[in-house]
Symmetry: C2
Subunit: 187 residues, 2 copies
DNA sequence: CTGAGAAATTGCCAAATGACAAGAAAGCTA
DNA sequence: TAGCTTTCTTGTCATTTGGCAATTTCTCAG
């Protein structure tokens, strides 16, 4: 919970009392490796903060799934379009390690927005961050070759090295074989 | 203006009178080919609807720029993060044909949201559309080879064929040379 | 600690894409 | 329309990436 508190504080100004109330609306969940927290086609109803572990967001079904994003500790994630517009999710969310999540239902989130208007800035920033990350990704995929994409991904987060090649490769837009080879060449 | 009216109507329910007031806040602009409506580093302050023509959104500077998106008639575009958070724009917007824009300043847009709450749904959908488009793009870049990406881009909009290879190639994440060749092969 | 299943590596070869430069075609302006 | 500029195409060759299958390594439940 402290991690979440710090995360919120890093994005908005808020006093201790308000923050405490906000946090009381969240609940903790432990997930085993492999657990799905959302499957594509379902309507998403929660926001997730990763206290520890890693979640992969992907489209399609294994083994031909495509990893859109991999989130690690101290990251706030959600299937925003599905939550906001009650449409079926395009993506599945899966824990790829033992993971501790701190979650909140979207209804509660909305009530917090009403009760604490300054908290709305938090919601907006989640959107913005998500948007910018995806845009960055497009640029990377358009611009760099596989080797550079891998290097930059590692630079951004060491965590990325915890991810199996199977998942990482589709995130980088290459095959597992190629990723294995280029990683070897880099060393 | 009729085009914009239809566009708004396609996204939200709104009566004639309200729509008329809303439209009166927009203004028309004609742009010659090559004109910039926003350069990266500037803070964006307007939303744009393309009545005719085409706008390309790109990062970096020519000739090494990367085209993130190409928008055509009946598309609503904006540098949303820059508008919302007053941060410098990461992208430049440039007319790549003679273009007629219908624009509105963000301040006026905000006032419309207050005056016509149902219009907020319009704003939200712009965000969502932008987000989904970018996500689609990631998936495409991750999943398909250059030939497929080109085919799918053409399938989505015939308009794409109006775009010079120079711009189109970086949008597809390949070189102009390769695009020229693969286009020949397809015919 | 062990053995089955999953994941990663490697070899071999084919296909796709890139780099660079030259020439052809198309578009624009006076 | 002529002439200039930009864009497009093509040739050659190098490099990157993919496909497939065999083998090795790793992981984890029992």
């Amino acid at each position: 919970m402290i991690r979440l508190a710090n995360y919120i504080r890093s994005l908005i100004d808020i006093n201790d009392a308000d923050l405490r109330v906000i946090l009381s609306n969240f609940s903790k969940k432990k997930l085993k490796k492999g657990t799905f927290i959302l499957k594509h086609g379902q309507v998403a109803s929660s926001y997730y903060f990763i206290a520890s572990g890693a979640i992969r967001i992907f489209s399609g079904d294994e083994p031909k799934d495509k990893t859109l994003w991999i989130a690690f500790e101290n990251e706030f994630i959600a299937e925003l379009p599905s939550i906001k517009f009650l449409t079926p999710s395009s993506f599945s969310f899966q824990a790829i390690e033992e993971t501790t999540l701190i979650t909140i239902e979207s209804g509660k989130m909305d009530r917090l927005y009403e009760e604490f208007p300054q908290f709305q800035a938090f919601g907006r920033q989640i959107w913005e961050k998500a948007f910018l990350k995806v845009v960055d990704n497009v640029t990377l995929l358009q611009t760099e070759n596989a080797t550079e994409r891998y290097k930059k991904a590692v630079l951004k987060t060491d965590y990325i090295q915890r991810v199996s090649l199977k998942y990482l490769s589709s995130y980088l837009g290459i095959t597992q074989t190629s990723l294995s080879r280029l990683r070897k060449k880099i060393k």
